[in-house]
Symmetry: C2
Subunit: 247 residues, 2 copies
Amino acid sequence: MCKKIITAGIIVIGDELLSGRTQDTNISYIANWLSPLGIRVEEARIIKDHKDTIVRTVREFSKLFTYVFTTGGIGPTHDDITADAIARAFNLTIDIREDAVCMLKERYSYTELNQARLKMARVPKGASLIKNPVSQAPGFQVHNVFTLAGIPSIMRAMLIDVQDRLETGKKLHSIVVIAEGISEGDAALPLSIIEKSFDNITLGSYPNFNRELIGVQFVARGPDIEELNKVKLKLEDMITDLKRVGE
Amino acid sequence: MCKKIITAGIIVIGDELLSGRTQDTNISYIANWLSPLGIRVEEARIIKDHKDTIVRTVREFSKLFTYVFTTGGIGPTHDDITADAIARAFNLTIDIREDAVCMLKERYSYTELNQARLKMARVPKGASLIKNPVSQAPGFQVHNVFTLAGIPSIMRAMLIDVQDRLETGKKLHSIVVIAEGISEGDAALPLSIIEKSFDNITLGSYPNFNRELIGVQFVARGPDIEELNKVKLKLEDMITDLKRVGE
């Protein structure tokens, strides 16, 4: 049986990412991590630490995509409201859970485990915990939504416990052809002809504006490596032709 | 008269940002650029080069926020569909415009100005052009939506021509207090008490997980600098108290 197309949406939660204080890196990390699993990220949103916004976005993404990843807002402080928002999104109750407390006890002594830290053991009813090998406070899965930490090193470590839960899809391969001395505007017409002559590929062109405003990277993506190799030959022919005209 | 709260939404358009191939930097750049103008970014989305998705997102953001910034998809190739999508979003016709062609002529000779490059002079009817001092092909403004290039160096240069068109809002200031040797879980309770005792501030805490898992940055944001200075004193007192308990 052919593999299905499997999709994902990423929701990055945190005021600090919208104030410009922090540069998000979680989106591209998760996208790169999902790519070899054949899971395609369809959309990513950066939203505030605002309960209604989180609830609305999680509900929307959970319906739209096979999987949803949220990062951020599961720490011990007053602005960490993601767990409560996920519970609300799925109309679940939420409470401190004993197995999550056990995970916290691996790190914190009895006196350290205050009310704020115990908040990190609050998970929506029926959720499956996601292990955190860095700082113990777990993430959790509710239905198709994986709720992860916002701190990149912890988020990345949590993905290890997520991988086996994901159905893998039809893997997309990509080929890159770099053309020096070619301008995107000259390549546009032959490029669109190449794209139309293949059914299952998408073809992007990314101009190099760092030096002299000239040079393009062509990137073709698709499920069939043989087809991509044919695209590569077509692109190389196109570049040769364009260079000949330019001489 | 008091200044109003002015909001913005950012829409970053491009498959390459969702495949993980490219790390977006436009969101944090625009957010940092808007911050001193007193304009608050409420949400940012990264979406595919897909017309219906662009149309839907632009319509939604245009209603929700004072200003909307889009980046990407206004080049010469087949996957550059943003201009057409913006026209559709506002039910406008779109065509090649003479003043935009004039801008392109500053860069391209008559023979270079092929059909693909002329596409960069297609703008929705009634749009106001945005100058591009790097590569000439203009961006444009339709109602409250500013459509900019995706390439960071060009996008940044286009913002210069946008600045005078924006109404500035009540500026948010911020103070940062760095606490070494303090753990977020110990600070959570006193932190929430401080936040509750001030009306117009938001208080975030960002643990430092790079070394030894200990240390926190507290960031307070608000419109009133005197109030923020009071918050700073409270935070410093809190840190002193926490360190005393830890001894």
